[in-house]
């Protein structure tokens, strides 16, 4: 008989309720939610919210291929500390996740680490080269539910149309990294007055928006569903809003950094602020926040992109784009104060679980009988980031020196505590 665990005194957030309750867990399930529950192990949650564990639609875990930057184990630990119980692993590994063998390897490494549910995405095209379709049916049969060439957008409109048509019969989600590559050659930062001053090649907003527009129209004619990764511009939000008004099966995510950091940070010449799509203007941030509130944006996803120190010490033009996100996401989102706690849980857990098609085990209401994938977080605790103390193998966080608000206290994955009082348990 396994030991029971009770989370005491937190405010349990569900879709239709929000009240102070204890949560009792046995094996890997929630068995009771109520008052004055007792168990073998008790975790204090007073002053905290108890919700379904967070689901990240966008994590680069770097394994296989770039274990110097991150491994599935270190990335999983970073995720657990950030309150995540599921991470969708991006496919731009080496080799890429375009075969059952690689996808199985990623999933198995996730199980071995045992800290979060590692959900491997599959490539849309072979090798993410944008030339021919990856074996999507075979991958779907092996359990892949989320396909993307992230890091690259699928440039060929005819191929993207085929991918959407093909995906329709498979019950999977296609996700696009929106970037018309011809418009962003050599680009380092947003095309703006700051890039004019710095003499850096600009990444214009229209390079994203053209592909958002193209894919909305492809969804319109194919009827397939589509998810937009890391939207970053005002006009992209407007396009998606209009598409949703037309009833198209489209979802969209935004990253914590595109909600909190602006293009002007590049004037520090620090490649830690180089990211793709680039940091944009304050007007874009405001539009993204409006999109969060009115339902245009469905999810907050980290685009967690670890890079080893030596890579981020290269010049701005050569340094790879990307920044850490898993351990700071909640603290950044709450510090921005863009939405209510309930919306945060929807954006970080309920909606992404549905988009990734893992809502049978993640993003469920905290009620008796559901899988015990839970997050307990203190919404008021302020803290600052010490890069060396992050669990990620890399330290490329852009939040050094900033005060974040809200921190994960406990994380429960499949009934097991992976984080207690902010400390990873393995």
């Amino acid at each position: 008989m396994s030991k029971s665990l009770v989370i005491k005194g937190g405010t349990v957030i569900n879709r239709k309720s929000q009240e102070v309750s204890d949560v009792k867990i046995e094996n890997d399930c929630v068995i009771e939610v109520g008052k004055n529950l007792k168990g073998d192990i008790q975790l204090d949650a007073s002053g905290c919210f108890v919700s379904s564990g967070f689901v990240d639609l966008h994590a680069h875990l770097r394994e296989p291929g770039k274990e110097e930057a991150e491994t599935i184990e270190t990335g999983s630990r970073a995720g657990a500390l950030g309150g995540y119980t599921a991470l969708v692993a991006m496919p731009n590994t080496d080799p890429p996740q375009d075969s059952v063998a690689v996808v199985d390897f990623v999933r198995e490494q996730g199980k071995r680490a045992g800290l979060v549910d590692v959900v491997p995405s599959g490539c849309i095209t072979l090798g993410r080269q944008g030339e021919s379709l990856a074996p999507m049916a075979e991958l779907a049969h092996a359990g892949v539910t989320f396909f993307t060439d992230d890091g690259n957008g699928v440039q060929d409109a005819a191929l993207m149309r085929r991918a959407l048509e093909y995906a329709k019969g498979l019950g999977v989600t296609l996700a696009q990294h929106c970037e018309v590559a011809e418009l962003t050659k050599g680009a380092v930062m947003n095309e703006c007055s700051c890039c004019t001053d710095l003499g850096l090649p600009g990444w214009p907003a229209i390079a994203e928006e053209l592909m958002v527009f193209r894919d909305i129209e492809l969804v319109r004619i194919t009827g397939a569903s589509m998810h937009f990764l890391h939207l970053s511009t005002k006009r992209s939000v407007e396009l998606v809003r209009a598409a949703k008004r037309d009833g198209l099966p489209i979802t969209a995510e935004v990253t914590p950094h595109h909600l909190s950091l602006t293009q002007e940070l590049l004037a520090s010449y620090d490649p830690v602020f180089k990211v793709n799509p680039p940091l944009r203007s304050i007007e874009d941030i405001q539009a993204l926040k409006v999109g969060l509130l009115d339902g245009t944006i469905d999810a907050i996803a980290t685009d967690h992109a670890p890079h080893p120190r030596r890579d981020k010490e290269m010049s701005l033009d050569l340094a790879p784009p990307g920044m850490l996100g898993l351990e700071t996401a909640l603290g950044v989102v709450l510090a921005e104060g863009a939405c209510e706690i309930r919306d945060v849980v929807a954006l970080m857990s309920w909606n992404p679980a549905k988009i990734a098609r893992i809502d049978n085990r993640h993003g469920c209401d905290v009620i008796a009988g559901t899988k015990a994938n839970l997050c307990v977080f203190d919404p008021q605790l302020t803290w600052s980031v010490v890069p060396e103390r992050l669990a990620s193998k890399s330290i490329n966080t852009p939040y050094i020196g900033r005060t974040l608000r809200g921190r994960v206290r406990h994380t429960i994955f499949q009934g097991t505590t992976t984080v207690i009082d902010g400390q990873a348990q393995k």
């Binding site: 095309e191 710095l198 850096l200 600009g202 214009p204 010449y269 701005l316 033009d317």
Partner: protein, 311 residues
Amino acid sequence: MKHLRSIDELGLSGLMGLLQLTDHMAEINQRPVPKVPALRGRTVASLFFEDSTRTRLSFETAAKRLSADTMTFNVSTSSVNKGESLRDTVATITDMGVDAFVVRHKSVGIPWQISKWTSASIINAGDGAHQHPTQALVDCYTIREATHAQSFAGMKVAIVGDIKHSRVARSNIQAFTLLGASVVLVAPPTLLPPDVSHWPVSVSHKLDEVIGTVDVLYMLRLQSERMAQGHVPTLREYSEQYGLTQKRVLALKSDAIVMHPGPMNRGVEMQIDPSDVKNSLIHRQVANGVSVRMAVLFELLGSGSSLGGQA
């Protein structure tokens, strides 16, 4: 002053101070033996990751005239080609005992990145399309020398050519406007940055409409790869619209001066031999390069005693 990385960081008083100090250096350069012991015992390392003739030579000459020791880091024979990181290279040279790095690199921001990794002073000798502050100092000094003007108020300067990719333009726009000049940028829209509305300049796409109104005509080099990148259809078309021809020289005001940072592309932006232009200052720009760089080195590394109390 610890570093010279951009005109913006230098500011108006820093700029004026260096121009005054350059007068002292020009005087030294007039002497039969143009050498002083001001920087004896100091070491200046040149880190040039991009080709350069005049900038590198004028820095090295300047350092030697101030009796500094010089070290030249030649990229083609260096450990960089063996995969050494820039940080390691800088740390290694710092360990040898260096007081200043003179840095040229194709990438924007390298001088700022390097200054985090060394205690030495950093002099930006050109970073990507961003800044080339000593060229701007040379150009301001050269205009001042020719016009005897302390301030550039009321002066109109046209900068003509590939503004978009030019670090010389970015530094000079800041320097000329700091000193009070009005600046007009003359270029096809494809060779301008996407948005210059926040710069204190006006913009024209027609050289012929501007040329008769300016006091200084500053021509930029057009690199031939701009054609391959589709910024201009052909060099010939560019040169017809924006090149300096005999006819355009005649359209200049009689006392207008002509400048070029070099190296010139004869037959492209310079369709005429500069020696045929009455008020060309192109040779003065090169000559003043040494004095200006002496002033910069002395300002950053000098103790203050050997040059009449300047520090």
